[in-house]
């Protein structure tokens, strides 16, 4: 119920701006989705419904390889970053407040604030130095880079869940003869699980669609789906890309919906 003293419903302009923003946000997406089902090639010319482009994309080995690589990286990176994030969240909520706590928060959330291109360049230089010294050329660089910048995305929902948790429950478990470790895995962890899954999904999605850092860090032959798409688009706009984008969009929407449902407070 809106308070009569200040209700945006009574102010002119709010709805107009809202409509404009929604159009700017969603019209391009709708067009992309729409034309991915076009049987013709040209955008803006509807030649009939078809799933041809999905078929083309599916049959393309380069797309398959990039997709598998992207999912592999996203899965590994999201697992690693979630484990680190759980530890960080426990470390920043399950102890007495300490000096420099705000500084630690900033350190953990640094990837959200530092321009991505800066991180990318820094990683490029750092990994180049390691490459020279070790000769290792593998996918590990991308995994490490992704794990690092995904940490804050996993950390934030986990910490929010931990802070929202009734600490008396842990006290009660200790009172009922649970050792500190038992308190964690019998009470804290099960109650934290929705937050952990939410954080992991957020990390997964973030890793899945990263372009900038991946582009700087990857070696030859290590195309992920986004870098592959970027490469294709540079040559010519292929309708195949619409189909891939639509699938990615659907996946992201599904994951974000699940994220929303998991972080929503039920009790």
């Amino acid at each position: 119920m809106a308070d009569r003293a200040f209700s945006t419903a009574r102010l002119p302009g709010f709805s107009a701006i809202a409509i404009f923003v929604f159009v700017a946000l969603y019209l391009p997406l709708l067009m992309l989705v729409f034309y991915s089902f076009n049987s013709g090639k040209a955008i803006g010319v509807w030649e009939g419904f078809s799933l041809d482009w999905y078929g083309t994309a599916w049959a393309n080995d380069a797309v398959k390889a990039a997709t598998l690589r992207s999912f592999g990286i996203a899965l590994t990176a999201s697992i690693i970053s979630t484990i680190v994030a759980v530890m960080a969240a426990l470390g920043t909520t399950r102890r007495r407040a300490f000096r420099g706590q705000t500084f630690i928060y900033m350190m953990i959330n640094q990837p959200l604030m530092v321009p991505e291109i800066v991180t990318a360049v820094a990683l490029l230089i750092f990994f180049a130095w390691i490459k020279v010294n070790t000769g290792y050329q593998g996918i590990g660089y991308i995994v490490v880079a992704h794990s690092a910048f995904c940490i804050p995305f996993a950390y934030l929902p986990i910490r929010a869940r931990l802070e929202g948790m009734d600490r008396t429950l842990e006290t009660a478990a200790a009172d009922l003869y649970a050792t500190p470790w038992q308190v964690f895995y019998r009470v804290t962890f099960p109650l934290l699980l929705p937050g952990i899954i939410a954080g992991m999904m957020l990390a997964f999605v973030t890793s899945l669609d990263d372009v900038v850092i991946t582009l700087f860090v990857k070696s030859a032959g290590q195309e992920t789906l986004p870098t592959y798409m970027l490469g294709q688009i540079r040559r010519s706009v292929s309708t195949e890309i619409y189909a891939i984008s639509t699938v990615l969009l659907a996946l992201t929407v599904a994951m974000l919906t699940a994220f929303f449902l998991l972080t929503r407070k039920k009790d």
Binding site: D166, T168, T171, A172, A174, L176, T179, R186, P190, L191
Partner: protein, 356 residues
């Protein structure tokens, strides 16, 4: 009732914070709680009663002093190693577990065999009359049911001492009355020492074997409900529990002389001429014939009808205000009117001299 000491606090001090901003929540508290006793810590919020409970539970450690359980120093023992269980004010039921799993939690953590856990949980469910709800999630229960589960969960491991932190404060009045009787029944049936924290003086008076009244981090008085009510040691205890009258007086021989010059009988002790404060409960103030010897004249300032009784507000000649609680007659007024001149007396033995 056994006379062995179950829990003892010796000069317990608890400070929160450090340096000049430190808050002394518990200031040199010593008390012995007997085995099988229903002991209540009574006091206003912030008086330190919950802090003392948390020291006994092991959620906090004393800044100095000791906490003993059956004679053993447990001051620094973690909560999971103390045979003491707590019923929390918020109940703190595990939301991801069922009623039965909640009740069995303590036994499981103690590593008791499955058959024993099942049997005890069943017995506990019977004890608190919740058998049909065994497989419900705790979030699906009403406040009163959650309260019972919390009780059963804390009683299941058969603790040496059960600590109850204002467990009834979230319940409505009717349910609270029921639970008071229920708690007392459980305590008698199990024979476990109960330490009950409350700010509700009526709760304390009706349920306890003994009460410890706390204020400002200190234990003011320990005694039976009757002692606490009838023989309060100081102004705080007298005013916190029930309504009372305070009157300035000075000692003269074996009696006390009120400001208006009338003397009343008083317990012996004290030195001649000493100025003291005396207290008399309103129900011990009697209206008498002004011709009676020792009658103190007063004037009715107002009358408030409370159903079972009528509160009669009066002023003595020197202006001291005094309240009498008179039983309401079946018909009509109590024969009193505002502005009427009356005489009063204090019932024999009802006058208490306060320590401050």
């Amino acid at each position: 009732m056994g006379q062995a000491v179950a829990v003892e606090a010796r000069n317990a001090v608890k400070e929160f914070g450090a340096g000049p901003s430190a808050v002394r929540a518990l200031n040199d508290v010593s008390v012995s709680i007997l085995e099988g006793e229903f002991f209540t810590l009574l006091g206003p919020s912030g008086c330190g009663k919950t802090t003392l409970l948390r020291l006994i539970a092991g959620f906090e450690m004393p800044s100095s002093g000791t906490i003993l359980l059956n004679g053993q120093d447990i001051s620094y023992l973690p909560p999971n190693k103390r045979p003491v269980n707590t019923v929390f004010q918020s109940y703190a039921l595990f939301p991801h577990l069922t009623v039965a799993e909640n009740i069995g939690f303590g036994l499981q953590m103690q590593g008791r065999p499955k058959s024993e856990v099942t049997a005890t949980v069943k017995r506990m469910l019977e004890l608190v009359k919740l058998e049909p709800l065994a497989n419900r999630k705790s979030s699906q229960l009403s406040g009163g049911q959650q309260q019972r589960v919390a009780l059963a969960r804390a009683l299941a491991p058969s603790p040496k001492v059960l600590l109850l932190d204002e467990p009834l404060s979230a319940l409505d009045l009717k349910l609270r009355k029921e639970m008071q009787i229920e708690l007392k029944r459980l305590q008698l049936e199990t024979g476990i020492t109960f330490i009950f924290v409350t700010h509700d003086q009526e709760e304390a008076l009706t349920m306890s074997d003994r009460i410890g009244v706390m204020s400002a981090g200190k234990l003011q008085q320990v005694g039976s409900p009757r002692d606490i009510y009838n023989k309060p040691v100081n102004r705080f205890v007298a005013s916190f529990i029930g309504e009372t009258n305070f009157l300035p007086a000075s000692r003269k021989g074996s009696s006390l002389v009120l400001a208006g010059g009338h003397s009343v009988d008083a317990p012996a002790g004290g030195t001649d001429g000493q100025h003291v404060t005396i207290t008399v409960r309103p129900e011990q103030v009697r209206l008498v014939d002004s011709a009676e010897s020792g009658a103190i004249p007063a004037k009715v300032t107002s009358l408030v009808y409370f159903g079972t009784d009528t509160h009669c507000y009066m002023a003595l000649a020197d202006g001291t205000e005094i309240i009498a609680r008179l039983q309401s007659p079946a018909t009509g007024e109590a024969g009193l009117a505002q502005g009427q001149n009356v005489a009063l007396r204090f019932a024999p033995g009802s006058v208490q001299v306060l320590g401050d």
